[in-house]
Symmetry: C2
Subunit: 227 residues, 2 copies
Amino acid sequence: MNTHTVKAFDNDIGELRGLISQMGGLAEDAIDKAMQALQRNDIALAEQVRAADKQIDMIEAEVERLAVRIIALRAPMAVDLREVVAALKIAGVVERIGDYAKNIAKRVPMIDGEHRIEPISILPAMGRMASEMVHDVLDAFAKRDSAEAVRVVESDAALDDFYDSIFRTLVTYMVENPKTISQVAHLLFVAKNLERIGDHATNVAEMVYFAATGTQMTDRDRGGLQE
Amino acid sequence: MNTHTVKAFDNDIGELRGLISQMGGLAEDAIDKAMQALQRNDIALAEQVRAADKQIDMIEAEVERLAVRIIALRAPMAVDLREVVAALKIAGVVERIGDYAKNIAKRVPMIDGEHRIEPISILPAMGRMASEMVHDVLDAFAKRDSAEAVRVVESDAALDDFYDSIFRTLVTYMVENPKTISQVAHLLFVAKNLERIGDHATNVAEMVYFAATGTQMTDRDRGGLQE
């Protein structure tokens, strides 16, 4: 590429990165707000999360158009192409994360605001862990920081353990309070959505690692903790 | 494009379509086998579904490489570019569908094979509905059939109703048989996975429609049934 093309490519990539940071911020925010809405039974806030998800979807579409344009016009090679494809895929995963936050928000109006069930109080800590993973992995992407990407993957094991513990707590609560079963079932889905957010943050971390290093993250990189 | 380029592009697109058909067939098969494994408590079959998911992931990666190569080398415009981008996105969604089937398969070993719970028998019909939607939407893609895509979107309402009814049945069963709660919770997740498969088939149907017609599917096209 000549100097002009290189500069144009750098601008394009900068724009792509900016859009993904924006998506990531919105997704993180969506998780936090969805969990707040759940805690406070705040239907209006839940509705806000659902509306914000449309914005995430729109930015994803914009990333896609831009990535296709970059590939078609600039014909990037090797490391540059790897970065554009990574951006395209990461945008897809962040959109999925936004969907999980939206799914949590959708449950808020289904939960009885009058008779709050006690186990709802154990979920926010899990929500914070998930939203931190999303924050950290997008930070790793912005800084091309493969070591931070590895840390995100490692932290997913803790989120999975948390989920298993919450699952057991919720089922025990259902057994002891059969009248609350349909309410607690919603919380089971919320916990599952948070666990899936962690899985997706892990996927992004693996993509960030690959884009930064050109090699796949191995078990050795992540302390041999994952499958 | 000159005749040579057009022919090369047609070959590329043909290859892309072939890969997606292959992925779709594997995903449909994964749903059917996961549901069979669940019914018969067949751990070996469940393991097979998990192994086959790796194959789906590999084909998705192949679609991605091919799509990027087509965009970079052939610089397709308008309807051709729309088709390549649709293929890329559809591959991503079919991969998600494969993940849901894998998630169902993962639950098989967690379900008690000795004391089979009765409501497990209501799930296969829902599984068939979901796998038919996947079959039909890939058929619509292969034939560029926008009318069939609309039918798939319409059938999602029936799947959603089925899910709601199963959800109520499972919760009632939990209330009446508190000892089975942790078992039935797995079935709730299975039903939810099938419902999400339907949502994703709907997404693919909308992409097929857009690729075929160049316009977004409207409420009018789908009989005004959807949101």
